[in-house]
């Protein structure tokens, strides 16, 4: 009896936090998504049932933002994963300065994305270093972030730069968990560097690859700070992403009912992607065995 009470005391911080800051908002936002709700004009609040969802599906900006977000995910996640994997394999060799690489490559990923975005806004600016470099290579200076064709690509390139070090560390942990005997056996069987990579390393790091791809996808779906600081969705909505659109609708136009519906739709998309990835990558492992 006494023990039950103390268990409850130990659990209470989580119970309160879960109820107030998680379960309640999750349910409340579902309710909101069925309402027309503007916090500045509470008198206009009324139930609209599924209209917000119907409106979203007919909203060209919703589709545009989803398309941009998918482009962002499809462009950055594979590149980041490949760079991180090969870098981890390289650092895992018997070479000098391994600890230097391990911490050095990691540093960009702990710096605030706001800071990263400001640095790259300067690098991409008309008088910035990227243009100086382009001039040296004989091409015309551009306004990288003000052209619809280049803006999103530039942000994607920056995102790869800012995050690959993080995933390199994860891959390194995965590589170091591979028992040395496995490599020894591969060597005795006469398999070379690429053979070992193909038939030993890659199958062995599949679980951590799954983890990396899933968390990177979830994270990339939420791209927001970069857009907020660098382009605010422009030029011509070419960098409008889902979370930025949701933020814009909720906190600039105060259409909080509609924005809640957008949030739920985004949540469903992210969930589907994670489930598909888990299934696909797990099947790959079963097929490889």
């Amino acid at each position: 009896m006494h023990k039950t009470r103390s268990t409850l005391i130990f659990l209470s911080p989580w119970l309160v936090s879960f109820a107030v800051f998680w379960a309640f908002p999750l349910i409340f936002s579902l309710v909101l998504s069925f309402l027309h709700f503007n916090p500045l004009r509470p008198d206009t609040t009324h139930v609209v049932w599924l209209s917000n969802f119907v409106k979203a599906l007919q909203d060209p900006l919703f589709w545009k933002s989803l398309k941009n977000t998918l482009l962002f995910v499809a462009g950055t996640v594979p590149v980041t994963t490949l760079v991180a994997f090969f870098l981890a394999v390289a650092i895992n060799q018997r070479i000098p300065f391994r600890t230097l690489y391990r911490s050095g490559f990691f540093i960009p990923s702990i710096v605030s994305v706001v800071v990263i975005s400001i640095i790259f806004k300067q690098l991409y600016s008309p008088f910035g270093l990227v243009n100086k470099l382009a001039e040296l290579l004989g091409s015309e200076p551009r306004s990288w972030l003000s052209e619809p064709r280049t803006a999103l690509l530039c942000i994607m390139a920056m995102d790869v730069w800012a995050s690959f070090g993080y995933y390199t560390i994860l891959f390194l942990a995965g590589l170091q968990a591979i028992p040395l005997e496995v490599y020894e056996a591969a060597r005795i069987d006469g398999s070379g560097f690429w053979g070992t990579l193909r038939f030993v390393t890659i199958p062995m790091v599949r679980p951590i690859t799954l983890f990396i791809v899933v968390i990177n996808t979830i994270r990339s779906f939420q791209v927001f700070i970069e857009i907020f600081v660098m382009t605010r969705g422009g030029p011509l909505n070419s960098t409008l992403t889902s979370v930025f659109y949701l933020y814009d609708r909720a906190f600039y136009r105060f259409e909080m009912g509609y924005a809640s519906a957008l949030a739920y739709l985004l949540f469903v998309v992210i969930l589907c992607f994670s489930l598909v990835q888990m299934k696909y990558l797990k099947m790959g492992r079963a097929a490889g065995e």
Binding site: L11, W14, F24, P108, V111, V113, V115, I119, A177, S274
Partner: protein, 282 residues
Amino acid sequence: MRRATGKRAKQARVNTAVLSVLLLLLLASTLFPLYWMVATSLRGEASVMKTAVDLWPRSPSLRNYVDVLKSGPFARYFFNSIVVSAAVVLGNLLFASMVGYAIARRQFRGKRLVIVGIVSMLMVPRQIMMIPLYLLISKLHMMNTYFALTLPFLVDAFNVFLISQYVLSLPVELEEAARVDGASDMNIFFKIVLPLSRPALAVVAINTFLVNWNSFLYPLILTNTERMRTLPVGLALYSQGEHSVDWGHLTAGSTLCAVPIILVFLLFQRHIIEGITAGAVK
């Protein structure tokens, strides 16, 4: 035979050298943007445009830092970031370990439900909840307070997971012996479990600090006065208005935001990497 081995060893040395050169070049270009930030922040105002290609400012000065700290609001931002991060770290050290301990050591009804709840907090992106959380905080009249910036983040699900995994790995005999000697539950928790969990607590503290120092979306929507902005939010908003191409001041503010986190990383990298890989390799 010997010649073949010698040749292979030589080949290996060449490979190592080539790989090292490539990696060092890649490392230099990875760190270059951060170097560029510091270099730009040390330029005098006038030379920012003119000598934009100088790799190191000709007459480095701290003027930009004095400007953003004195006339700009950055001193206040910095203070807010420290207060909020410290409070969230302390909260997680106490609360996440209480919860983690209960999950590791106690049997109770609904335990599986609690675990499902914690896992679901890890899976669902928090952005989904920005609107209800904003409405909740403003209904409670907590906008622009330290409460708004700390209360929702005091019990992080990942920290709970980390602590409970660690406590599970501790021998239970010490706690049992203390109980036989008549120690109370609180005494056992504070005098035995917490001290033994120090390595896990270090990981929790450092990772919570990293995440919270860089936190952006929630501090953005839960504050709307200059006085309550944290460093990343203040910096982002500073870069939007009249200062949008004021690179000297912007990079000085950026450096102020980046340096504490890089220092913490360099001091505690072992714990940080442990914390990151803990969730992955399990």
